[in-house]
Symmetry: C2
Subunit: 215 residues, 2 copies
DNA sequence: GTTAGCATGTAAGGAGTTACATGATTTT
DNA sequence: AAAATCATGTAACTCCTTACATGCTAAC
């Protein structure tokens, strides 16, 4: 009944740690953080917020005014409680198998700035291992069945493998970077793009884990 | 209650059109066809097969022997009925908006060998348009919010955009190919791999849509 | 003879979606 | 004054997973 997502909850807590927000705004930010640009629905968001309030990790405060003068319609601005902050830090310091799964990895990565260096490295390496394992399995069944497959299926498989291989190389770059070797991102054949600027990941961003407050 | 997937059903029908199979085998093949290598569970597969039988699109025949002599344990080999074949052809000739969504595209592509050329082109172009639209939206919000984002979030976004850009270029190659221009796949920086062979998509595979049988 | 893999299923539940319902505020 | 977009929510439903239950067959 109540949505206890393992993806949504950390994402909401992480965003609210950066700054308090109301649901509608949260949703838009969430859509960028949550993997591949999919649109989260209110039907998931609001019940999840409700659950977080019930567990005492966030509180919702009515706000008629929101800074720039004119009184807008009443909206509920959510923010972390002391318990919520503590819980978030606990979540952010975890690095078990679930963190390197497809659904969870992106969200964890999105909040790496709030994660300590060791945990970052463990997650990146776990993710890398997971992907190379998968690569092995798929390559084998690919080799076994390639004669029986038509060319479209073949192309789909080949493309899928290539995508994962690229992902592994991306992780390699990030891991090297975390270790302080400052390897340059392999831009490869990538056409120049708005997005394709010099966004190299920092050598070591000081983790904000010490910011812990208690109520 | 009964699983009426829009992804699973066409995939099953498509595979059974290639050759009759029992559930266990079907699952393994399905895992390769169904996007990104995820493992489909029996809890989805068998109820879905049941539903397909109920609607008369497939039949399950007990088989104690399976070709090479020794009598194995009883398994249920499923195959398409005449109605099922008809239905499949109808599904395969559709090219509406739903076909170029993330969840559906891969499955449709996997059965392109059974799809006529016009439909193939419409799906590829629809998919391309969908992706470039998404790219535009994300690029804009990326440009608007990049100052406020930490470097990890930035890197995640950049990587996400790059992935989609690459996907668009892949589609460009396929579209050119469908039009008979036989453009060579841009191998780029891709390391040589088992998968990275000469799997160029055919110029034009004759569609088997004329194979239609009636009961 | 016991582990691993083949083979078929069911029941309960999780994580989300769509569609609905409502109303305020801003823009055209 | 109409249309778009902001803002919050609920109910029903979908698709899928996990865990359970069962038993056969091959390999070590």
């Amino acid at each position: 009944m109540r949505g206890r997502s393992d993806v949504l909850e950390p994402a909401i807590l992480g965003l609210l740690h950066e700054s308090p927000m109301h649901g509608y705004e949260l949703r838009k930010r969430l859509n960028l953080v949550l993997g591949s640009f999919r649109a989260l629905s209110y039907g998931s968001l609001y019940p999840c917020l409700k659950g977080l309030v019930e567990r005492g990790w966030i509180v919702g405060l009515e706000s008629t005014d929101s800074g720039h003068g004119v009184s807008k319609r009443a909206r509920i601005v959510y923010q972390l409680t002391a318990d919520g902050k503590e819980h978030l830090q606990q979540v952010l310091s975890s690095s078990g198998p679930s963190t390197w799964e497809d659904e969870n990895f992106d969200v964890r990565f999105a909040f790496f700035a709030q994660t300590d260096a060791e945990t970052r490295l463990r997650i990146l390496e776990g993710r890398r291992t997971r992907l190379t394992e998968r690569l092995e399995t798929v390559r084998q069944s690919f080799a076994r069945t390639r004669e029986r497959m038509d060319e479209y299926t073949l192309e789909l498989q080949r493309h899928g493998l290539e995508q994962v291989e690229r992902e592994v190389r991306w992780l390699d770059g990030l891991i090297d970077n975390e270790r302080g070797r400052r390897r340059v991102r392999p831009t490869g054949t990538g056409h120049p793009t708005d997005a394709d600027s010099t966004a190299a990941v920092p050598q070591s961003t000081p983790a904000r884990t010490t910011e812990k407050e208690r109520g």
